[in-house]
Symmetry: C2
Subunit: 370 residues, 2 copies
Amino acid sequence: MKIKYELKHKEKNTNARYGILNTNRGSFETPMFMPVGTQATVKLLNPEELKAVNSAVILANTYHLWLRPGEDVIEAAGGLHKFMNYDGPILTDSGGFQVFSLADSRQIKEEGVHFKSHIDGSALFLTPEMSINIQQKLGADIAMSFDECPAYPSTYEYMKDSVERTLRWAKRGLDVHTREDQSLFGIVQGGEYEDLRKHSAIETVKMNFDGYSIGGTSVGEDKVTMYKMIDYSTPYLPSDKPRYLMGVGDPLDILEGVERGVDMFDCVLPTRIARHGNAFTRIGKINLRNAKYKMDFTPLEDECDCYACKNFTRAYIRHLLIANEGLGGRLLSIHNIRFLTKLTEDIRESIKNDSFLEFKKSFIDKYKRK
Amino acid sequence: MKIKYELKHKEKNTNARYGILNTNRGSFETPMFMPVGTQATVKLLNPEELKAVNSAVILANTYHLWLRPGEDVIEAAGGLHKFMNYDGPILTDSGGFQVFSLADSRQIKEEGVHFKSHIDGSALFLTPEMSINIQQKLGADIAMSFDECPAYPSTYEYMKDSVERTLRWAKRGLDVHTREDQSLFGIVQGGEYEDLRKHSAIETVKMNFDGYSIGGTSVGEDKVTMYKMIDYSTPYLPSDKPRYLMGVGDPLDILEGVERGVDMFDCVLPTRIARHGNAFTRIGKINLRNAKYKMDFTPLEDECDCYACKNFTRAYIRHLLIANEGLGGRLLSIHNIRFLTKLTEDIRESIKNDSFLEFKKSFIDKYKRK
């Protein structure tokens, strides 16, 4: 079965939507934040910890899994869910973003992309058909079209060609996608150009994907431009399909995305900042390595219900970080993911109550972006 | 209350003992293996995972905690148990072993030891009184006397002087130890010299500690010599007090120690080898990085009841290790500690049945030391 999105409530004052994403592995509310398990593991956490922080869909990266351990290993294991022992829904990206952000010496051809492995420099070639076929072997619940993710800024001329190529690649991927138990999302590109976003969205929607994502964000653009990219895309996306803003997980960006009608977000941010000693709190990020937490025997956040906050103090977590102990990053990862899933819970309540803008304002009034 | 050891059954054919260690935090069977939480954390694991592998007492290292975060921080937190949120019994070593194995430029004086921090090279000085006072602030259930742990081999003359100094240091520590809810163990030294071990044991026992440990092992001596060090010490230790062999956790060494009447073992081995990709199995250690496990969708050990074995395959753990994902070391640590606690469970059964030697032989027949 394909996923099915049910729009339950459209917020009165904004484009924010409350909905249900029905999958073969349960039904989950949107807007939702999806933690990233790049290499078939959300760094340091086990599946039970992901469930405990109320994660629903999690992400895995096709590019990384194609290189290591290889899609054939995961297929032989019975698919990604069995391989990593996660029975919730999984989404795989197409590899397109990693090819453009990690790989060296890439050459884009109509057929596909030549590039070098970021691990050993070996020459590789990836096509839309290969990306879809790898994703079918991985067996996630949701697969993504293989797209070109151009740098920011790109010229209008370059972006125009790129959008057309991504549309052709989307069609080629769709043609080889046959798994009935896997949904396939199309990706809207077009950079910061309004007409290209519109064209990309309309033409992608014509292909009738199971959901749509807004790509080409988090590639170096400023916040105002990122929000414009969303504004230029969502009006052309159907209301009965989920909308996914790729690679975005900053709390303020989630709020802006939700306001513009986005349902799904993913980002490495909560686990990445955790490994650097940072915790999300309602007043902004704090760095637990700071000496002022040495004798601070309070939780990361008083009102937080996560495992880290219920069991450990800032002083202990600071000690773990200073002493380079892995439990420190593990506890912060749990807390940071919970912070974002809790944020989406609060957002959903505010949408249901038609009070999203009040919620957004009260959140932003406290939260300092650093 | 001090700990209380009850000898429940002496094995018919050997010196192996089955007993109960009663502590303020529960009663636990011996022989037991104690995982090491050097810096107030058993690397990568949380307290619930330690309980799940049937850990009883865990270790923490006074030297490390003195340097980071400092005993005052832990005292202010309400003691080590609260600081690390572990409600089972904890044992702290004296710092003696770390001063002799990690620190630079040490100079041993009658008053104490001058040395340099392994972290920042700063000049430090540690005395028996300081070690005990730090341990009283840490507040573990069991503290250890501050001893000199001489290198192997040391000359007879050096060892003779060292044993006398360690006896004087033991007395000085005992004199400042006042915590009624904390037990204090004496340490038998004497290297490989039979008469010095005897002298050290007899004189240490005269001071009436709550338990006795055999020190000066795992300092580079061969196995035959290590077993002799135990043989030379245990005959002079009282049967109504626990005996602890410090720093020993190789499965075959645990068997040899138990046969000689040892009740408690600790070692970083299970977590250290885990971080290098190794797993204990009944046929010996295996390295999961080996290519032959790439498509091996069986657990680390079929009959193991640990979380890692019940939920994940060798192929997945190999992938995590190759991809440098922390969950790999975490799963292997869980398995390796469980392997040793299960070994002690099996040992205890064999002692109760007076079949320890049969059990030992059947274990050794399968297990290949590498």
